[in-house]
Amino acid sequence: MHNAPEFKIPIGPQHPALKEPEGFSVALKGEKILGVDIRLGYNHRGIEKAAEERTYIQDIYLLERVCGICSHSHSTCFIQAVEEIAGLAVPSRAQYIRTIIGELERIHSHLLWLGVAGHEIGFDTLLMYSWRDREVVMDILASITGNRVNYGMNTIGGVRRDISPEEKQEILKGLEILEERTKYYIEIATEETTIIKRLSGVGVLSREDVLKLDAVGPTARASGVKRDVRADDPYAAYRELSFDVITDSACDVYGRTVVRVKELMESYKIIRQALKDLPDGPIAVKAPRKIPIGEAISRYEAPRGEDVHYVRSNGTEKPDRVKVRAPTLANVQAVKHMLRDRFLADMPIVIAAIDPCFSCTDRMVHLKEQDCGTARVINWPSLHTYSIEWHKQRGIDFTRLNKKLQEKFTR
């Protein structure tokens, strides 16, 4: 390995290990990783700006689509901020229902993660089984909210649908199956030799590094940092529910797996308590269309870590500014640290271990001209001509194709 040549390989923006486009440029020496360069911005959708153009009601559905997996997290986080500005007292039944949906979402997210982690280390059987069992919680979510993802359960001032006694029984029945399966997965994750071989000692992030790099969620908790918004700054109904914050001292990918599967057990506990104590009463209060002037910041423990939303209102139907900080943004810098001096084979699982959600995280990239360092604003037609010229210089002529396309569209 001493004389192995150094080279750079691209992992992404299109790569089987990544479920979303993101660029990782990996400098390798043989199989060893010398350094990783992360480039965000392949999936920027301009949601924050779009939120300013829509009313608060419309924004709930827009922000729910920041992330497909933690959709309830983002919409709750946003709504909590809006409710704080408007000074709405959300009925406690609505708070409990939000908590239940939030925990069901955590179950489906963690089971999904377990399967993805299995796939990244080439253990497709684990993927097939955990995703099969995930269907149980997806079916529960579909029947109580009306959708498998993007539940649309929240509205300003409460929730949109109630949980009936029959649905309560259905949830409890589903939880029993899931609890049994989760116990089995804990056994698998802690006993199967090949899994332990691939996970332990990989992607080490010490407690000090977590504090320095500000990692959140299971990534931080696996390094022994007890950081959980549900316990530190309780929202919804968490103040009235008792649960443990799971931590682990392994500091590696194995620890993150253990934290996640054990958190599943905590989620079952929380849902059972919440269903038992579910208070009677209305599920929503009437919210004004125009939110008074003000600003608020709201925190929420999404399955991947702490989610932060900032909302500023200007007294109209539309917010003045919405700012989203998804958990992956806090964790993505840690990936660089975790991969140093590891093997290329560890790359997929280390990236997967923070449970990345790149499109939630993506930031706009402001391109500067390399030689003079100044920014240049370019409009669409001139960008178009520029790209045709750029390709022409490299021997590809798009002029004819372009003309054809133009004719087609003008017709």
């Binding site: 080279f7 390989i9 790569h15 089987p16 290990a17 390798l28 199989e31 299995g118 796939h119 990244e120 280390i121 080439g122 253990f123 497709d124 059987t125 684990l126 097939m128 089984y129 099969r132 199967e192 090949t194 899994i195 071989k197 691939r198 093997f343 290329l344 084979a345 560890d346 790359m347 997929p348």
Partner: protein, 313 residues
């Protein structure tokens, strides 16, 4: 002359072998799916995949060495098919046979790996290069236990020829039981040769896309996948003959049936093994092969040497 052409091209040569290889792939995939509680593909799926690939355009990367890139898959397929011709199937006699053919078969089964390396290396893509280097690195780890496992059986029979080996075990029934540890070693090593989980490191999808196969597409990829199928059947046939040498030289129909069952048994064992484990890292794989498989194979050799002294004077 005409007869041997028929043997080579139609039965049990190329056409039969390719058809059987496709069925074996189907069985492998179906069992893999059923073990994972899925439905799995319909019976014609491997054939449909091959036809689809065959109908596609061949794309040769501009920077690659076009000749090497195109020759490697055909070379690999040809050698895997040739290996099959030397293996006795339901008689103690193969189509072609000579002293030392067991070594030739083993080396013919190694040629595809080398061809994958050459094809991957000359396609000049970075993923291909990493994959092909990995496949060569891996070759040094699994080849030794595989050879030792298979040759220990030959050692007991005191021969370098598959014909004499099968005749010896027909004359001494139940002796094959002694070789079962060797069978375990050979079966696990075979997973490395066929690039299947846990040893699918050279084509680890989530790490290096498809390893040496990354730049291949169309007919050439079809040939490469066919090579792996044929290799699976040929290697299973070799293992079946060396480790389960019974039911030979009886009624041809019954013998053929037993032969098919033996091969499918080995194919399903492969499917089972790749279901229950995760992919290892290349360093772990080499450690595993040298620290576990090689000692077991050595013990098998020792056992066979002792048995030879005790049982066969």
């Amino acid at each position: 002359m005409f007869e041997s052409l028929f043997y080579i091209i139609v039965f049990p040569g190329m056409i039969f072998l390719i058809a059987f290889a496709l069925i074996a792939e189907f069985i492998d995939r179906k069992i893999y799916a059923r073990l994972q509680n899925r439905v799995g593909p319909p019976w014609f799926q491997p054939l449909a995949d091959f036809i689809k690939l065959a109908g596609k355009e061949d794309i040769v990367p501009a920077d690659s060495n076009a000749r090497m890139f195109k020759v490697a898959p055909i070379f690999a397929l040809a050698s895997a098919i040739t290996a099959f011709l030397y293996i006795p199937l339901w008689k103690t006699e193969a189509l072609f046979s000579f002293r030392g053919d067991i070594i030739v078969v083993l080396y013919l089964l190694t040629v595809p790996t080398l061809a994958f390396f050459i094809g991957g290396w000359y396609s000049t893509s970075l993923y291909s290069r990493i994959g092909s280097v990995r496949s060569l690195t891996q070759l040094f780890a699994y080849e030794v236990p595989l050879f030792m496992g298979i040759l220990s059986s030959a050692l007991l029979a005191d021969t370098w020829s598959l014909k004499e080996l099968s005749e010896f075990y027909m004359a001494h029934p139940w002796f094959w039981m002694f070789n079962l540890p060797g069978f375990g070693v050979a079966l696990v090593s075979l997973l490395g040769k066929l690039e299947k989980v846990p040893f699918d490191i050279p084509e680890a999808e989530t790490e290096i896309v498809a390893g040496g196969f990354t730049e291949y597409g169309g007919r050439l990829l079809g040939f490469l996948r066919m090579t792996l199928d044929v290799e699976m059947v040929a290697a299973s046939a070799l293992l079946a003959l060396v480790f389960f040498p019974f039911g030979l030289n009886i009624n041809p129909v019954l013998g053929f049936g037993i032969f098919i069952i033996k091969i499918l048994f080995i194919v399903s064992l492969i499917a089972l093994l790749r279901t229950v484990v995760a992919r290892l890292r290349i360093d772990q794989m080499i450690n595993f092969c040298w620290k576990f498989l090689v000692p077991v194979a050595l013990l098998q050799l020792l056992l066979n040497l002792i048995l030879k002294g005790l049982l066969l004077k």
